[in-house]
């Protein structure tokens, strides 16, 4: 078992505990392994965003604990060190860019850490090149597309040299090409920089690309497995108000109609192959 960078131990949390008795997170336990790409899938109000905010001490559990790299998030002297480890990217690209020039925004985090100017410059240039935004470093954020803004936000986290980046529905407000930009950047983070990525999403086509998927519902973890094993449970996923890939659904429904087709398929190639294999057997 690989070591856990982030660990949730029996975490329970309720917003406005005095007037509200439905917990947003109910006795949740899981670990995030170093270097993995973890997708947390769930519909709105399933508790997935609350879990995300626990990961860098924006929220503190009512009971249970969240441990980041050996540090308990409940102890306030750890807060800054935890945030150096775990970066965050939010849904609305406009609400997380602070400066009026792209490169100044990426520099914001390292400047807060009190680094030397030359070091900051080095990190900013590296981060902007990594996300492919170096050419646009002198632009103003409001002249960028949604996908480009999210890439700048990701560069901001890279420049802090975080081990982990938590993305809270980073693509919800983007068009298809913006979503593709963000997904390609996530792949780069994992493959080239070895950064652990936690992607909170309700798009199954993004979760499919992860190493591991956690499915949440009513503040609890329903499933925690590989994408293949999660999405082949077509009925459960659909009952949770989530989508399965059309490829999986097609194979699943053919299977239920009495054709012996393997439905643990995630993409069009796998699905086509499964169907062709079946057709070949039949001929």
């Amino acid at each position: 078992m690989a070591e856990s960078v982030i660990k949730f131990n029996n975490v329970t949390f309720t917003y406005n505990a005095e007037e509200n008795d439905i917990p947003a997170l109910n006795n949740v336990s899981f670990g995030v392994n170093k270097g993995e790409f973890l997708a947390v899938l769930g519909h709105n109000g399933s508790g997935k965003s609350t879990a995300a905010k626990m990961m860098n001490a924006l929220l503190i559990p009512d009971s249970g604990e969240v441990i980041v790299d050996g540090m308990n998030t409940a102890e306030s002297e750890n807060t800054l060190n935890i945030r150096k480890k775990v970066g965050m990217v939010f849904q609305n690209p406009d609400n997380q860019l602070v400066a009026t020039i792209v490169e100044d925004d990426v520099a914001f985090g390292p400047e807060n850490l009190g680094l030397a100017p030359e070091e900051i410059r080095k990190r900013v240039d590296f981060a902007l090149k990594a996300v492919g935004m170096y050419e646009l470093k002198d632009r103003e954020p409001h002249n960028l597309s949604g996908g480009q803004k999210q890439r700048v936000a990701i560069a901001g986290a890279i420049a802090m040299q975080t081990d982990c980046i938590v993305m809270d529905e980073p693509t919800a407000m983007l068009d298809p090409s913006g979503r593709a930009e963000v997904m390609n950047t996530i792949k780069m983070l994992k493959d080239e920089l070895g950064i652990t990525v936690i992607l909170i999403t309700h798009y199954m086509d993004e979760a499919v690309k992860a190493d591991r998927v956690i499915v949440m519902n009513n503040g609890e973890i329903i499933m925690d497995d590989t994408p293949k094993n999660v999405f082949s449970q077509v009925e459960i996923i659909k009952n949770l108000g989530l989508d399965v890939p059309q490829a999986t659904e097609l194979a699943y429904r053919l299977n239920k109609s009495g054709l012996n087709i393997d439905y643990s398929v995630l993409n069009e190639e796998e699905c086509a192959q499964a169907i062709l294999r079946f057709a070949g057997v039949k001929r």
Partner: protein, 279 residues
């Protein structure tokens, strides 16, 4: 209309003016603005206009953009100039008809006023065109840092300025979007008296207010995540160094200011008083 505002816009380039220390630029801008009001005769005004034109040229900011900064106030300038021309009496009378008098003094006043306001706007927008907002707010923070002795939160103020500059375009887009959405529901912003017009703004102001609060909360979270505390212990990527060129700029302007003062207030330069108008 709101989109015409150019204050706070930056034009990337690498001119001498772009490279000056922003602190020096702010000080020089203030000095030049004071100078505009020292000019009381035609030669000094001409010299000033020339210097302004020279600065625009050196800054490599396209003339079109500079003119754009004057556009929003062009009508005000035109209107007050006409008032000055028609109503101020004194000096030689060129034209007289009923209540309209065109006199030399009126013409001079109008000319001076227009030239001064235009120079003022051009010089201050040149500052923002050649300096990134981040550098500008940084420089203001540094220039004002002596005020920290009086417990004035200089850093917080400059951070607020940066965020305000960052969110102005976001909010302008939002106003546009909300206005269109309410127009599509038949809202009427054009007809009716002042009170009715003010009431018609409610469907724009309420959503704007609510989304601003949302922006603020999310922004606060994002800043927390990026280890922002209170600004103490913060460093800067872009350092400000006063270079030889900055001292040169300071020196040149000192000479210029002295010359201006002399030609306006020194009674011994009698050759120039010939041009003096009585303003």
């Amino acid at each position: 209309m709101v989109k015409d505002i150019t204050i706070g816009q930056y034009f990337p380039s690498d001119s001498i003016i772009h490279r000056l220390d922003p602190r020096v630029k702010i000080v020089l801008t203030l000095v030049l603005i004071v100078c505009i009001f020292i000019c009381k005769n035609i030669p000094s005004l001409l010299a000033f206009v020339l210097i302004t034109a020279l600065l625009v040229l050196v800054s490599k900011v396209p003339l079109k953009m500079v003119l754009k900064s004057i556009k929003p106030i062009a009508i005000v300038i035109l209107f007050t100039s006409l008032l000055n021309i028609f109503y101020i009496r004194g000096g030689t009378v060129f034209f007289e008809w009923k209540f309209i008098h065109i006199t030399s003094k009126g013409l001079f006043t109008a000319l001076f006023m227009a030239a001064r306001v235009i120079c003022l706007v051009v010089i201050s927008s040149l500052l923002t065109y050649t300096t990134t907002p981040t550098m500008l707010t940084d420089a203001i923070e540094r220039l004002l840092s002596p005020l920290k002795i009086f417990k004035i939160p200089v850093h917080t103020l400059s951070m607020m300025m940066t965020l305000a500059l960052r969110f102005i375009p976001v909010l302008i887009d939002e106003i546009d979007r909300i206005t269109n959405a309410q127009k599509a529901r038949g809202a009427d912003f054009e007809t009716g008296g002042l009170i009715k017009k003010a009431q018609a703004m409610i469907p724009i102001i309420v959503p704007l207010f609510i989304s601003s609060i949302k922006h603020a909360y999310e922004l606060a979270d994002a800043m927390d995540c990026r280890c922002y505390t209170d600004g103490s212990g913060r460093t800067r990527m872009k350092q400000m160094k006063t270079k030889a060129s900055d001292y040169a700029a300071l020196f040149v302007s000192l000479v210029f200011v002295t010359a201006l003062i002399l030609c306006n207030y020194a009674p011994f330069i009698t050759g120039l008083t010939f041009f003096n108008t009585v303003i």
